[in-house]
Symmetry: C2
Subunit: 393 residues, 2 copies
């Protein structure tokens, strides 16, 4: 059996089984993907196990459908990534050892991805930021801030694509030019919600939009629940920013906790219904209090350090720079002197504000003025405290 | 040695030692109060121990000063309560077994009290609610709400008398006609801050204003710190509502935690500086998240149940009454029919509002109209579900 056919077999089986069906985990403990596919298509018996009837009923024509789907994938802008591929994130296997929550569990047979980033690299250091659709201004601001800080520290922000906290988490990271990952409950090619078509496009441009569901599939309540386990499993930790009493975000937090990932909650006013679910999880001890991106990074730190493929080595001097100054500094080219307007537009800030910060950075010896433009000072010119600064992203 | 002289000896010693001096705890392990007083006044050696020089320097004339103070106490409106008195709260002894925090520890030699309530009964079921002077509107509202619910459940609210959260905690309970306890860092007869003279008067009218300091003493930073240990030790648990990074309220929480009392924190917006200290204590695991008075009562429940000298046995039917209705109901006399105005003024509510509630309570069979007044229906007249209702406060 070649590697290609192993990938193809997983794709075939993924069309027979609803993602997250716990019966698949059980069957895969004693049978290969090929044996299960054979049993479904050709009726070959599985020693000691019974194949669910629903899978057999979906089997007729599945090989043709798979071939057609594989042929159409490029057109749809999606790719099939699965175990055995270099880009497969190994940590998803933890799902195979976790008891079902809301009737779903197990590592996905594969994921459909839309975008050009490499999945394993994208999630090697990553944090899920999820929460209420009906977010308050407070929650939205906090989600964007934390996402910005998490991205700034070199971790990928992972979320769904819902209104509210999910969208804010992506926006907070995208605003810094950092890639993000969206995990959908519908096909990876489907823009859901419709109003987020632009957001999903921007996510796919630098990061990835992924789904366990077949291309073209629509989201259902059950698919949101099974999707949540992927968000929790693919990241080093999950932060919930605002969640009402029965919010789906609490389901993701539950998964994070069961999977041994870092489960975190951002408190809010006790007078806000949008924070009730977060406070419940904090009170139960299921999640820990975090109040900033720095605290999130600290909490997932060890996991990030172990899996890290991206390096970020700030010097002490750089640490001391205000966050605003760092954002501006990182937008300054080391090669070409560029005008203030260009640098300002790169980070979406007002030209006047950028100018003020650049003048300060120049005075402090980080950048130099060349004609009407700004450029990073060369390393040889830096003071010893500043030389440790390496932007390796 | 008579009981009277034991009380007087404590009063003498309390004038030689700064409250909370940890050296006193150490000396009292091997010497009696009388031996320490003798050593200070007459220079009698303490076997195996050295008397602090500062105590000896304050000794000349202390017996005369004590007699004068005892004579003046009635005029000042304060009383000396100490171990051995029926009104002494036994749980303060826990301080003798607790290591110093900020250089202070030990059970107080006694407490000066202003007001007519009995100290031990007042604190038998009690919760400290403390927090930032520079409270936000959010914190002030939450403090008043929690204090109201705590008082409504029959627990005494204990706090300092500072601006901000302390004052709101008292006000939330006083608004329901419930007694509260203020522990001061100055003399119990001193109105500090001046602007709270009226508040302190209202506290003393139904509850108590107490202090370990001599009457007339002014507050100092050190006295606030030693005062905090009394607040934490005299209650079943401490709730912090808003505390900035280095707030004194965190010191009280630290005491509660060290004393094995329930340490609680009310979260707030992570964007609020006034909640930073609370979130720090929650993150460190020193305190637990609480978001309502009901959660506070639940947390201190076992301690309250064990120490309870006051009984509150609401029936199921009473439980079902809205809180507003219960407040009105508890203001209605069982003996004399009183006009709506009298009942309304007793609970500081508008006459029209009281009338609406009284009419409902009458329809439900809780009260009866006699002439132009209202009176509780006699127990024999109550339905079985209502008979369990006993207001024992």
């Amino acid at each position: 059996m070649t590697t290609t056919s192993a990938r193809r077999l997983r794709l075939v089986l993924s069309q027979l089984v609803e993602p997250g069906d716990p019966r698949l985990v059980a069957l895969l403990r004693s049978h290969s993907v090929g044996e299960i596919v054979d049993a479904a298509i050709h009726g070959r018996p599985l020693s000691g196990s019974v194949l669910p009837e629903a899978w057999r009923l979906r089997a007729p024509g599945v090989l043709d459908r798979t071939a057609a789907l594989a042929g159409r994938a490029g057109q749809l802008g999606v790719r099939w990534v699965c175990p055995g591929d270099d880009a497969w994130p190994e940590r998803l296997v933890d799902l195979d050892a976790t008891a079902p929550i809301s009737g779903t569990t197990g590592a996905p047979l594969g994921l459909w991805t839309r975008g050009t980033a490499r999945l394993d690299e994208l999630v090697a250091r990553s944090v899920a930021i999820v929460g209420a659709r009906a977010a308050t201004t407070y929650g939205s601001d906090v989600a964007m801030d934390i996402a910005g800080d998490v991205a700034d520290a070199g971790h990928t922000v992972v979320s769904g694509a819902a209104y509210g906290i999910d969208a804010c988490a992506h926006r907070g990271a995208l605003a810094l030019g950092a890639p993000t990952l969206a995990v959908l409950a519908c096909g990876a090619d489907v823009d859901y919600p419709r109003a987020h078509a632009g957001l999903l496009q921007r996510i796919a441009a630098g990061g990835l939009v992924v789904s366990e569901q077949m291309p073209g599939q629509t989201p259902t309540k059950g698919r949101f629940l099974s999707r949540n386990r992927i968000i929790a499993a693919i990241t080093g930790g999950t932060v919930v920013v605002e969640a009402a009493r029965r919010s789906g975000a609490l389901n993701t937090l539950n998964w994070a906790s069961e999977l041994g990932r870092v489960a975190m909650g951002v408190p809010g006013p006790v007078t806000s219904q949008a924070s009730v679910g977060v406070h419940q999880s904090l009170r139960s001890g299921q999640s820990m209090v975090v109040t900033s991106g720095a605290e999130v990074i600290e909490a997932v730190g060890e996991i990030g350090a172990t899996d890290a493929t991206l390096e970020w080595s700030p010097s002490t001097a750089l640490d001391e720079l205000q966050r605003g100054s760092r954002i501006v500094l990182e937008a300054v080219s080391a090669r070409d002197a560029e005008p203030t307007e260009v640098i300002a537009s790169r980070i979406s800030c007002a030209t006047d504000d950028a100018l003020t910060v650049l003048a300060d950075l120049c005075a402090a010896g980080w950048v130099e003025q060349v004609g009407s433009g700004w450029r990073l000072r060369r390393r040889a010119d830096l003071s010893p405290g500043q030389q440790g600064h390496t932007v390796a992203r």
